[in-house]
Amino acid sequence: MASNVILKVEDIHKRYGREEVLRGVSFSLFKGETKVIIGPSGTGKSTLLRCINRLTPPDRGRVWLDGVEVSHPKTNINKIRAAIGFVFQDFNLFTHLNALDNVRLGLLKIKRLDKKKATEIAMMELERVGLAEKAKAYPAELSGGQQQRVSIARALAMDPKVILFDEPTSALDPELIGEVLEVMTDLARAGMTMVVVSHEMGFARSVADEIIFMEGGVIVEQGSPEQLFTNPRQKRTGEFLRKITELYGEAS
């Protein structure tokens, strides 16, 4: 395995009942790379992300994070998960904790930092997403965009090797999407390694090193944004890209 491959996903299969949702998905992610996954609804994108950190255990297939096999039965899965950030579509901030405590929880309970150090790091990450002044606000007191930025700060605080984003802006009102994409763009530029399921094509075009098009539980095509948009190898890729560009628009 190349030393700069940070995440390697190999032949993931997952079945729900009679439906095989993932039918052998493989890809690698280099350090500092941003991959954007697109594909029709129900195609297994969320399932794939959850299989990577085993929130959903795959039926078959293996995952390595920085040389450690995530899928190995002897791997301490909690430790691995702490190194994989996860950002959810509907934020999932802990509703009983304010922004600061949301970001601090993992630092205190998993990294076991003392309160002073944990607060310092948490405040730094809140600063990074532009929400330091909202540290004492509870999730219900924040807008969707702010909640999502706090949830990104929560992921960042654990100093993850990679962050997985599952449609981070699709639950947001249109006018709030920009602030979240901006944070994500800054992260990508700063060298964070990210896998982003998103249909924000403006973001994908400007930030993605590679776009993966999934359909029916497999990767149909992957390549640079340039190549997929101008010269897709598969007919389906072109059709799908045209359709979502119509739906979501280009700009962001």
């Binding site: 929130l55 999932n92 901030l93 509703t95 929880l105 219900a140 007191e141």
Partner: protein, 222 residues
């Protein structure tokens, strides 16, 4: 219209009974919280034997009358060589009983927490028990306060059942005083008012608690 007669000398006796009622209620509620939480966690997160044991327990204690449970403890256990005082029998039977009801309230609250909370907790690397402790329970215990208040009030009133095994709680004392003085109406009216006062105080305290732990920005004041 008959003449109503009240005597001051009843009050210290009733107060003694009241102390016992408070002790019994507080103790059995405490037993119920601890055991009820364990049972609820068993029913929500337990597998196999834990799930079945917890479920069977809850079904049994909810499916049979409290009085039968009390009489089984007081009259039944001695045949296995376990003789308990009336007071302990009362606390034990009521504690075991309320645990089953509290378990159901706790279970309902735990299950009403959105699945995303557990997913998010696990995704930052918390173990399942850490996630339950730091994320699920703090939210569920807030939600459970209103239904749980009902159980506490219910237990306070139905603790009067212990007079069936000769415990001189508020109700037991009241019956004796009433019978000795042939002043049933007066004594029971006072007793009822004492229960009512207690219920009102408890409701007020619990509402205070609920407001105090309320999550800012979440939901309307209930």
């Amino acid at each position: 219209m008959p003449q109503l007669v009240f005597k001051w000398e009843w009050l210290p006796k009733l107060a003694q009974g009241l102390t016992l009622t408070a002790e019994i209620t507080a103790t059995c509620i405490a037993i119920g919280i601890v055991l009820g939480l364990i049972l609820a966690l068993g029913r929500v997160y337990g597998r196999h034997i834990f799930y079945w044991l917890a479920s069977a327990y809850v079904q049994f204690f909810r499916g049979t009358p409290l009085l039968v449970q009390l009489l089984m403890v007081y009259y039944g256990l001695p045949s296995w060589g376990i003789s308990l005082s009336p007071f302990i029998s009362g606390i034990l039977a009521m504690g075991l009983n309320t645990a089953a009801y509290q378990a159901e309230y706790f279970r309902g609250a735990i299950q009403s927490i959105k699945a995303g909370q557990m997913l998010a907790a696990r995704s930052i690397g918390l173990s399942r028990s850490q996630a339950i402790r730091y994320v699920i329970l703090p939210q569920a215990l807030r939600l459970v306060i209103p239904p749980w208040s009902n159980e506490l009030i219910y237990m306070l009133k139905y603790s009067s059942i212990v007079y069936m095994v000769t415990v001189m709680d508020l109700m037991g004392v009241a019956r004796v005083i009433a019978a000795r003085n042939f002043r049933f109406f007066e004594v029971f009216i006072i007793t009822a008012l004492i229960y009512l006062a207690l219920v009102l105080i408890i409701s007020w305290l619990l509402r205070l608690l609920e407001r105090r732990v309320k999550i800012p920005g979440l939901g309307a004041e209930r």
